[in-house]
């Protein structure tokens, strides 16, 4: 069994209004952060013998459902 971590973000250049709100508040709190983006972290287990298969499945699931390629980008990481 492999645990797949898929992280989805809005693409660079697509405005993230929720991220902007969080950044405003963090700055009000004294944390001088920039470029804050909110993403989504999805974990799932797949029954695959080789880690390569799990990564390929993760990418396929991201491309077909978990991320919207029009406005989002994603990364996939497998931890056995």
């Amino acid at each position: 069994m492999s645990r797949v971590h898929i992280v989805v973000h809005l693409k660079e250049g697509v405005r993230d209004p929720a991220g902007e709100a969080v950044q405003h508040v963090l700055r009000d709190m004294g944390f001088l952060v920039e470029h804050l983006r909110i993403g989504r972290h999805i974990t799932l287990d797949v029954d695959s013998a080789a880690g390569d298969d799990a990564a390929r499945l993760g990418r396929e699931m991201a491309e077909r459902l978990l991320a919207n390629p029009v406005m989002e980008q994603f990364s996939v990481e497998v931890r056995s």
Partner: protein, 224 residues
Amino acid sequence: MKVAVVTFPGSNCDRDTLRALSRLPVEAVPVWHRDTHLGGASAVILPGGFAYGDYLRAGALAAHSPVMGTVRELVNAGGRVLGICNGFQILTESGLLPGALAMNVSRRFQCEWVQVQVQECLPGLRFAAGERFSLPIANGEGRYIPDPQRPLGRDAVAFLSYRDGAGRPHNPNGSWREVAGVASADGRVIGLMPHPERASAAWLGGEDGLRFLRVWTGGDGVPA
């Protein structure tokens, strides 16, 4: 003409849409999202609401409902589909229309009346270029994002745009080029954020939505 209205788990404008259609000379039938038939309808409406609770992304899960395969077959066979609000989100998520709908730049769920204007005539439908409709919007994710791989102007067009009371471009939510609705170039697939069914009687605040639905179901824009 027979029009199917799909109910997804979380749809909440399905019955309003059926009721609005009852004021037009069409037969309207409800369809469940797990159905793989459309009750013999030649046109289908994906209504507003929060299908699957908007989990993951608005429209993302509903785009994979069994009925969507049937909707795709209907369009390929020459039928028509209209996606209203959440229905528009389902159409972009399913790839039947290009682009995506993202969170409004205001970060608010915007519930207000807007003016929209027809930007492009569509084959087989008597929408007039420049024709305006006063309709309510009610959404949190209505900001149209174009798809660089499928730019409007090829297989789809910017069908409706937001206008202010004087007819000038107006942008309630940060939508790309004030886009309020998109249609396939052949007119078979239309998605719009405003709710025509919520403007289908004078006591609701206006009848422009009924006029919109009348034209979409094959009539003209003249009140009956």
